[in-house]
Each structure stands twice: as structure tokens, then as C-alpha cells.
Symmetry: C2
Subunit: 216 residues, 2 copies
Amino acid sequence: MIPSENRLAEEYGVALATMRMALKQLVDEGLLDRRRGTGTFVKQPAFRADLFRFFHVHDVDDPDIPVIPESRILSCQEVPLPPEVQKAFGADSASHCIKLERVRLWSGEPMLFEEVYLRLPDFEELLSLNLKTMGPLLYPVFLEKFGILISSATDELSFGIATETSAKQLELASEAPVAVIQRIARNPAGRVIEFRRVHGRPERFRYRVTLGDQPA
Amino acid sequence: MIPSENRLAEEYGVALATMRMALKQLVDEGLLDRRRGTGTFVKQPAFRADLFRFFHVHDVDDPDIPVIPESRILSCQEVPLPPEVQKAFGADSASHCIKLERVRLWSGEPMLFEEVYLRLPDFEELLSLNLKTMGPLLYPVFLEKFGILISSATDELSFGIATETSAKQLELASEAPVAVIQRIARNPAGRVIEFRRVHGRPERFRYRVTLGDQPA
DNA sequence: CAGTGGTCTAGACCACGTC
DNA sequence: ACGTGGTCTAGACCACTGG
């Protein structure tokens, strides 16, 4: 909780109405929360998990049931920056980054193979973390362990051919067709935090997204 | 342009600051536009064309160049409501609807085959319109000819098999693999206006979307 | 230069939550 | 009862736009 509008106005030597306008602005920006009769509070940066749960593996019976696939981490190591990751991170990137590989399963079957690239030195600690204890969603981990909030992402979907690794992990023939999702995720300042490439089994792959002003 | 804040405050018998707050609210809701030294204006409902240009057919040389594919309308007729369209439109739907079929081409090659379902009687006039004169984007036509604004859409992407018709139009072998996009588009009130099913040639298909708070 | 909106002041009264 | 934010008042000065 921060001091009341009365105290703040006095402290900063401005009129009450002026302070009210300033506070209103911060509320509009989502930084404060005001409750009549109670006070003004700093808002926790809300992680909109719903925004990032949009890999829908369609339930056999009801495609409207969303599922968070189970996660199995294969490896997590420091590697030289691949060129496309370099392009996404921009000029101010280090020469190396962290590469995390994992498989996501549903009902015991591998559905997605993910390669996640993260900036160094920001995520250096990840190398020494016990990855087994992590939940299936990465962004809450970024927020809790590293204080890094992912607030926007650009996904690009296309069709491609499985690599040797992705074919093996998805239990497909090599060079089988796969769904390809490439994601660039950013913090609120627009800095690219993550580059991700995902291969998915095509026959059960489903991606859903809603754009525009959501009706209430 | 609407009257100045001074005149409005006087007319409605409220203080200037109160009228200012009220106007501010309407600005926040996107209904008004205020310009200092000029006046207050009713805002045209902005059609966010950028929101709906997200079928990216990747340019061979530069995948970052967005393209609006050319449009060729094949048919436009009244048909009974297919079950999945019924489900999208809901209980208050008529028993028939308009079905519009078209092919979208780029560099003369067919890339996408679209089946667009629209509500009756809202779009009744579409049957008698000269479709040749329409531009490649449908939503501006909805707005200009019918006063209907599309403000949100949910897309669902998956992989499927070409139908007889889509294979023919895309110049593929029958039962060839295709990209499938299903779209439900709504007006600001949340009413479903359009149901669309799109088949795309997989090898050149690319779909890009950005979610979250876009950095400035 | 006249009129517009943008910002600010110094009050007032009210609705709501907590104690 | 008291302190909180929500709304309102009746002014003031400034910055910008247009003719």
C-alpha cells in the first residue's frame, strides 16, 4: 500500500486533484490498484497465463477442453548463438546463449518438441537449477526465479519437415511433415527474451488464438 | 465535431471539470478524439486492417514482406446452415445463410481456398452485389456496405486433408495435406458475424500473430 | 487573435471499508 | 467514527490550432 492521496499531495506540494490525476494515470497503466475505503496498492505484474496457453492439443472427445501438456526436459546447456537467434536477439546479444530442449506430452504421447533459446547472462542461473522441479509452464518460472516478465509474443506457424532430433522425440519417421511454430517473446520494454522453435505432430496439432477487442 | 467543453458544461449545467472527466472517459473508450486548439470529434470506428492481414504468404526472398493475396470469387449463394456454422452462430440464427467461395492467389498461383459463411438476413444484399468490384479484403466491405464492424476474431489452425473442391482449386492431388484455418469473427457486441474455413497450400503457408501488450 | 483542449488549484460532499 | 478513494465545483493559466 502507498500513502493516501492526501498525504502524497501534501508531501509533493501539489493539489489533491493533480495527485489524483497522476494516480489515475498509473492505474490506467496497470501499475496501481485503488480501492475506495481501503487505499492505493502497487499491483503485482499480472502474468496473463491464459495468453500463453494456446497450444491446444485437441481432446479426442471435446476440442474445447484446453490442455496443458506435461513437460519433460531433455537438456539445458550453453551453446553458441545460432544465426536466427542472433537475428531475434539483436546486436546487443552475447555470443552464447542457453538452449533448453524439452518434449511435451499428453496422455503419455509426445506431442511437441521444443527448442528454447534464452539470453545470457540473464538466465545463467538456469544451468544450475534443478529442472525437475519446474512446472510445465516456463514463463511463471522466468517471473519467479529471474524477475523477468514476458508480456508479448509473436508466433509464426508454418509446415515443415522433422529434423533428425525432432523426428526421434516425436516418434515419427525422419523427414516426416510437422507443424512448426517459431516464437519470439518479449518483456514489457520490447526486449526479446526468448526465441523458441517448436515441432508438433501434425495430426493432433491445433493452435487457437483470438485477436481484437474481446467482448465481455 | 461536437461542441466545446465550455458549451457542453453550460448546456448540461455541470462544472467544466466534470464535463472534462466525462469526455475523458469517452476518449478512453475510443469513441471521441480530442485535439487541443481544434476541438472534440466523434471517432470513426477504426477498422484495424492490420489485425486481419495475418495470412502471410512468405515471399521467396524476404519472409518479412507481408502480402495481400489477390482474390477471385467463385460463387456466392444462399445455402442451408451447415451444422458447425449453426453451432457458431448460435440459437438465434436463421435456417439459411450465405456461402461465399473464393480463391486467393499470389503471383498467379492459388494459395488459399476460402469458404465464408455469413448471416441472413444481414447480408442478403450481398447476393445482388457486383462481386467483381470488391477489393481483396472482405471486412472493409462489411463496414462500408452493411455498416457491420468486425472487431475480434478467433482463429484455429490445424492440419488436414484437402476436400475434392479445395484440392481442385489449389491444384493439388485429392486428399493432399493442407493447412486448415477456421475463423469465427464477431462484431463489438460479441455477436458472431462470420464463420470461415480456409484451406492453404502447406508448403508456402505461414501464419503470424502477436499477442500481449505490443511495445511501442 | 480568439477559441480550443491540457493542466492545475483549493476547496466540498459523498460512498465505502475498517475498526 | 474515521480514513479511504470517487465525484463534483468554480475558478486560473498555459499550449496549441486556425483563420
